[in-house]
């Protein structure tokens, strides 16, 4: 038993999960850490915006970001209004902050539909194969064959425009990418001997699918979530720009749509502010997502897979 004695000395002092190893690799990526900081700042702003929104709503008053001040219409950026004001004299910075709230709400709510749907269908297809797989492949091919903007618009016409329409529309369309990736992972993992070992011990199919294989594909969900997040934001902007998106709340898309009418008057700060807020968040999330992918699953680096 020489191998046991010799190698136990080489074990590290503390047990190492694969997560801690991945985190150590992620930390080495300086740029990704900076971007993680940027994302953290956005999360802070999101929580602040949420509190402003709920504070006004629960007291049944008009929130400060909606209060019009016609004396200060289209004001230049100044110390009083860092990002200037819009056509109704509303502070642009306050609206941008609310835009963060809308963007995060859409991303979280859409993910709440997309992740369970994509994961479950992908897991079922990959694990059980046969007709289950055939049916699910057929289902996502049908969903995928329609240009996503068109299906999102038509779904939002059915369930009602605004936040609900966007979230349900994107959720019901964007699960395809995750489903494909999860299906592929399940196809791979069900061949592994640890699955046979669990079956030999008498573990049922559901236990194997959820308790044994699921932890091994969890990182895919995290990666897809971070990389899909910016796409949700961009889709919301496009939909709001097209006029089928958010109404009554200052989302970035609504702001850009409004701003385009006054750009020729020299009002650049409205468009500039919304674009910059969106740009930094999307960039930071993409870099964090890529770094996460490298840290969590080095083999995925070259896969085109993350389409959401």
């Amino acid at each position: 038993m020489t191998d046991t004695a010799a190698n136990s000395a080489a074990l590290a002092a503390k047990p190492q999960t694969l997560w801690s190893t991945a985190w150590r690799q992620f930390r080495r990526n300086r740029l990704a850490m900076i971007c993680l900081g940027i994302v953290a700042i956005y999360v802070g702003v999101f929580l602040y915006a949420e509190s402003v929104y709920w504070f006004a709503r629960l007291r049944d008053v008009v929130p400060s970001y909606k209060v019009a001040d016609f004396a200060a219409r289209n004001a230049h950026p100044s110390t009083a209004h860092w990002f200037g004001t819009d056509f109704a004299g509303r502070d642009n910075l306050a609206q941008l902050i609310q835009g963060v709230r809308i963007a995060f709400e859409i991303a979280f709510l859409t993910s709440a539909i997309l992740i369970p749907l994509g994961f479950l269908l992908g897991a079922l297809a990959g694990y059980f194969g046969r007709w289950v797989d055939t049916f699910i492949i057929w289902l996502y091919s049908v969903v995928d064959s329609v240009p996503s903007i068109l299906s999102i618009i038509s779904i939002s016409y059915v369930v009602g425009r605004g936040m609900k329409g966007i979230v349900i529309g994107m959720g019901l369309v964007a699960w395809v990418g995750l489903c494909r990736l999860i299906r592929g992972e399940y196809l791979k993992h069900k061949q592994r001997a640890y699955v046979a070992a669990a079956r030999a011990l008498g573990a049922g199919h559901l236990t194997v699918m959820l308790r044994h294989i699921a932890p091994n594909v969890l990182h895919i969900i995290i990666i897809v979530f971070t990389l899909a997040f910016p796409r949700f934001i961009l889709t919301e902007v496009i939909l709001s720009y097209l006029g089928v998106g958010i109404t009554g709340e200052p989302s970035w898309g609504v702001m850009i749509n409004d701003a385009k009418q006054r750009l020729w008057l020299g009002v650049w700060w409205e468009l500039g502010g919304a674009t910059a807020a969106m740009f930094f968040l999307v960039l930071a999330l993409n870099i964090v997502g890529d770094a996460l992918r490298d840290a969590l699953d080095p083999k995925l680096k070259t896969a085109e897979g993350s389409k959401a």
Binding site: M1, T2, D3, T4, N7, S8, L11, A12, P15, Q16, T17, L18, R192, A193, Y194, A196, A197, A198, R199, A200, L201, G202, A203, G204, H205, H212, P215, N216
Partner: protein
């Protein structure tokens, strides 16, 4: 009475093809194989890669669906048993896998890998008792109890194979299919694992089906040897006999392939 009786076992895999994915042919991985294993003995199963030995092992544990034939374990015909019916019998037959890397779930601790068998088959056991039992099993296979909170990637191939053995032992089985348990290990570690398997056999009165492609390893550990090629058993005899008087041309080829000291 024989512990395991395999009668005319056939395992065919369909070959799918064409536009609508229909069956266009089949691979006869195991083709009409019969043998018996008596309690307490070790039966070696040798053959080259692709000869169907692993398929036999997996079919016996019902990890694969047999196409035809009969598998009788300890008096029970398990050939067509459902999951639920099979579960109590799973306690009595286990498997040790070839690949020490793929056979342990990388996201589970050693305690949950070895302890899973206990949660399935001994649900009345409480946490403390389960921990004690896991510690005992780890010590029994030559590991330390404090290894139980670690993850598989922290161990060497030989140590992982010991963990796999501990997992198989957890349910107190009568019969273990050892599917090339040493072929992925360094030669120095191979001997240690084989000795461990022999010690355990003596202590717990285990019965082994020992699958290998290396006739030297099989001859050392087995009472009987089955030689397999292209899905069929071509020769079955005692270990000594097969080594001294190989009958079939394929067996003679296998023996000639064993490296000898000059």
């Amino acid at each position: 009475m024989a512990l395991l009786e395999v009668k005319n076992l056939k395992v065919y895999f369909p070959i799918m093809g064409g536009v609508i994915r229909h069956k266009v042919g089949e691979v006869k991985a195991v083709d009409d194989v019969s043998f018996t294993i008596e309690p307490g003995e070790t039966v070696g199963l040798v053959g080259e890669s692709g000869s169907g030995k692993t398929t036999i092992g997996r079919a016996i544990l019902r990890l694969l669906e047999p196409t035809d034939g009969q598998i009788v374990f300890d008096g029970h015909d398990i050939t067509r048993m459902g999951d639920g019916e099979l579960r109590p019998l799973r306690k009595q037959m286990q498997m040790v896998f070839q690949d020490p890397f793929g056979s342990l779930n990388p996201r589970m601790t050693i305690a949950s890998i070895v302890g899973e068998a206990l949660t399935i088959h001994f649900p009345q056991m409480d946490r403390a008792a389960r921990r004690d039992r896991i510690a005992e099993l780890l010590r029994r296979v030559g590991l330390k109890a404090e290894h139980m909170n670690r993850y598989p990637h922290e161990f060497s191939g030989g140590q992982r194979q010991r963990i796999g053995i501990a997992r198989a032992l957890a349910v107190e089985p009568k019969f273990i299919v050892c599917d090339e348990p040493v072929s992925a290990l360094d030669v120095s570690v191979q001997a240690a694992i084989i000795n461990l398997l022999q010690d355990l056999q003596e202590q717990y009165k285990l019965t082994y089906l020992f699958i290998a492609h290396d006739l030297a390893v099989v001859e050392h550990i087995s009472d009987h040897v089955l030689v397999m090629t292209q899905g069929k058993i071509v020769e079955a005899a005692s270990a000594d006999e097969i080594y001294q008087r190989p009958q079939h041309a394929y067996t003679q080829k296998l023996i000639a392939a064993v490296p000898k000291a000059f």
